[in-house]
């Protein structure tokens, strides 16, 4: 407990420094940060006594006094890593240790009203652009890490697509963490995605880590999807092996909008993702895909919450986990159907594949239904590779390791297939192949 106190003090100290340094920030922003800091100071880090954190012990994270991330100049390594999930892009915004890096970023020519860029710059030059949106969608009180992020709002990506504008190529946001041998550090990227009525775009958030040092990424992304808009959101997490990654993605949808998300976790030592979707207008539709592939001592905890707050909305959720070694997975999928949200149609599936008998999964759907004309189905499985299928493949000349790899790939295939961006899809399947025995043969054979 003492230790956690110490790290809390260090956050407070750094907050005061930030607060002093940003005396020119608009009053609303200072207030926002201060309130959030107070809230965080009040609650502190969650412990396993909190129902929402029962299986994810953040004590080691709480005990570390993470420094402010060093402002490092980009090196060649950063350049290649930042392009990892390549393919054509409308914009490629790179954040190096949480700070926008113009040198590595590039914006293609597009509709002049489209806004893509650094939150820090907007807060400096025209804060009024984000005043009505920042911290308006995510509920800081729900989650201490959101409060912590809000207290340290400095930089992140802002994407604003005006009404009716369609951006065919994806917008890549790359969050690159590189320790360069320095002390353990923390970043709090804060992203805002505003998709105007009838607009269409895809956004990729790609978290990449370089090096072996521990660090802590604490991103929060708020997304507002206007009427009839379509938004595809991808989150690819490849933090380095000692990293802690605690992310929150909050999506608000208006009527007849469609949002699709894909959340893929491959890196990090401890990962916790909160994804909250509010279907706030009639006829809105959300599709959530998730996949994680872990081994060793990794832990991935996915908490999703879909709120059907209006009638005639649909949600489909498929989360999958592949666990080897002594890794652990947690899935909490909460579906809340508000009173009056008639004709709700919701399907939730969570499938887990254990590749080792020391890996562990906790999965639990939670339905809260306050309307009567609804269709909600859910199912969860935890299983091992099908022995019959392994024998079948071996009887065709495929050796055992490869048979296991093929089956594992097959388990994840539908989630990978639903990634609509070819560059990202390739990246994801190669990351999976890299983690499978005989992956290179498999890559050739199956693609």
């Amino acid at each position: 407990m003492k230790v956690a106190r110490k790290s809390l003090d260090s956050y407070l100290e750094r907050f005061n420094r930030l607060d002093d340094a940003s005396s020119d920030s608009p009053a609303w922003l200072s207030r926002l940060r201060r309130e959030a800091m107070l809230r965080f100071a009040d609650t502190g880090f969650p412990t396993i006594a909190d129902e929402d954190w029962r299986y994810t012990n953040v004590a080691p994270l709480a005990a570390t006094a993470f420094e402010t991330a060093p402002a490092t100049p980009p090196d060649g390594h950063c350049r290649t890593e930042s392009l990892a999930a390549g393919g054509s892009a409308a914009a490629h915004c790179v954040f190096l240790n949480g700070r926008y890096c113009a040198e590595l970023s590039r914006l293609e020519e597009m509709d002049r009203q489209v806004r893509i860029g650094s939150l820090a710059a907007i807060l400096r030059e025209s804060p009024e652009e984000v005043e009505d949106h920042l911290a308006r969608y995510v509920e800081a009180e729900r989650h201490p890490f959101v409060a912590l992020n809000t207290a340290f709002i400095e930089d992140g990506a802002v994407v604003r697509v005006p009404d009716g504008v369609r951006i065919p190529d994806p917008i890549h946001l790359v969050f690159l963490s590189t320790g360069n041998g320095g002390p353990a550090f923390v970043t709090h990227p804060r992203n805002l995605i505003l998709a105007g009525a009838g607009s269409e775009c895809s956004v990729v958030e790609h978290y990449v880590g370089v090096g072996e040092k521990p660090y802590f990424s604490n991103p929060v992304t708020e997304v507002a999807v206007g009427e009839n808009a379509r938004l595809d959101h991808y989150r690819l997490q490849e933090e380095s092996p000692a990293a802690h990654h605690v992310s929150t993605l909050e999506i608000r949808q208006e009527s007849n909008s469609v949002a699709r998300t894909m959340s893929a976790d491959l890196g990090g030592r401890l990962t916790r993702n909160d994804l909250n979707v509010v279907l706030g207008g009639e006829g809105a539709d959300a599709a959530l895909d998730g996949i994680f592939v872990v081994s060793g001592e990794q832990l991935v905890d996915n908490h999703t919450r879909i709120e059907h707050a209006a009638p005639h909305c649909g949600s489909r959720e498929i989360y999958k986990g592949i666990l080897g070694g002594r890794s652990r997975g947690v899935f909490r999928g909460r579906i809340v159907v508000h009173p009056g949200a008639q004709k709700t149609d919701s399907v939730q599936t969570n499938n887990n594949l254990l590749l080792s008998d020391r890996a562990l999964v906790n999965t639990k759907p939670q339905l809260e239904i306050y309307a009567d004309e609804v269709k909600c189905t859910h199912g969860a499985t935890i299983g091992q590779l099908d022995r019959e299928a392994i024998f079948y493949m071996r009887s065709r000349g495929i050796d055992e390791d490869m048979a296991r790899s093929i089956l594992t790939y097959g388990f994840a295939e539908d989630v990978i297939r639903r990634v609509r961006l070819a560059g990202l899809r390739d990246r994801l399947s190669s990351l999976l192949f890299d983690r499978l025995p005989q992956g290179s043969f498999l890559r050739k054979a199956l693609t």
Partner: protein, 255 residues
């Protein structure tokens, strides 16, 4: 090509095969018939290398080598193929990719070059025509949602692509409609060669009208109780197994 002698097999405490002797030479087609539960599939699975069964006595020599020493994949690489009575579904893996992985695994094990995508496509085209396979089955995940007949046809399709030396077909005819049976039989006959042996496990004479066996064996209670030429199948069709099964000395079952 294949020499099984005095094969005893059990699964846990259950004795399934109690001294099977069978010799199959290159170019021959053997049919194994016998009542439900007599051990036909067990024999077929043991030949393919299923590890759930324990071989407690006897030997299996394949091309002069001890087959029991080999893993399932080594057997397949050496040319053994089993068309399953109940083909297994493999979600998320397309039929063609799976088959290419299999073919290349076999080729690599023989120090042959992997087939390139184009050659493979041509090979697959040729075999789909031979077996009148619906092309949509090629891109679908292996056996997933296939009808019973489609699964059986897919087994023979795989066999045609992999071109094994020893083909073991476990009730491939069950579940095939009349026309499909003819097509599949035609496919099997196309594979007949002086270098290849085929073992057909079946309950029905019908298939044997098209794929005419050189020998017919009756397996009952884990033993081959009678062997003969193709006429034996006709005889069984008329009289059933009753006479044969009753002839068996009771002591063996409990021994």
């Amino acid at each position: 090509m294949l020499e099984i002698s005095d094969l005893h097999v059990r699964s846990g405490d259950t004795k399934i095969l109690n001294g099977v002797d069978l010799t199959v030479r290159k170019g021959e087609i053997h049919s194994i018939m016998g009542p439900n539960g007599s051990g036909k599939s067990t024999l077929a699975q043991v030949l393919a290398g299923r590890e759930d069964y324990q071989v407690t006595r006897g030997t299996i020599a394949y091309k002069g080598e001890d087959l029991l020493e080999c893993s399932p994949e080594e057997r397949a690489q050496a040319g053994v193929f089993l068309a399953f009575q109940y083909p297994v579904e493999i979600p998320g893996v397309s039929n063609t990719y799976f088959l290419r992985a299999a073919l290349n695994s076999i080729r690599v094990s023989r120090s042959q070059e992997e087939v390139d995508a184009l050659d493979f496509l041509n090979l697959v085209r040729e075999k789909t025509r031979l077996l009148k396979m619906d092309e949509s089955l090629l891109t679908r995940p292996v056996n997933e949602g296939f009808s019973g007949g489609e699964k059986k046809r897919n087994e023979v399709f795989q066999m045609a692509v992999l071109e094994p030396d020893l083909c073991i077909m476990d009730e491939t005819d069950s579940g095939l409609d009349i026309d499909a049976l003819k097509v599949v039989a035609h496919g099997v006959n196309a594979m007949r060669s002086t270098e290849r042996a085929i073992i057909v496990v079946t309950h029905y004479q019908r298939l044997l009208n098209y794929v005419v066996p050189d020998f017919v064996h009756v397996l009952a209670r884990g033993r081959i109780v009678r062997s003969g030429g193709k006429e034996l199948a006709l005889e069984l069709e008329e009289r059933g197994y009753a006479g044969l099964v009753q002839d068996r000395p009771q002591a063996v079952a409990g021994a």
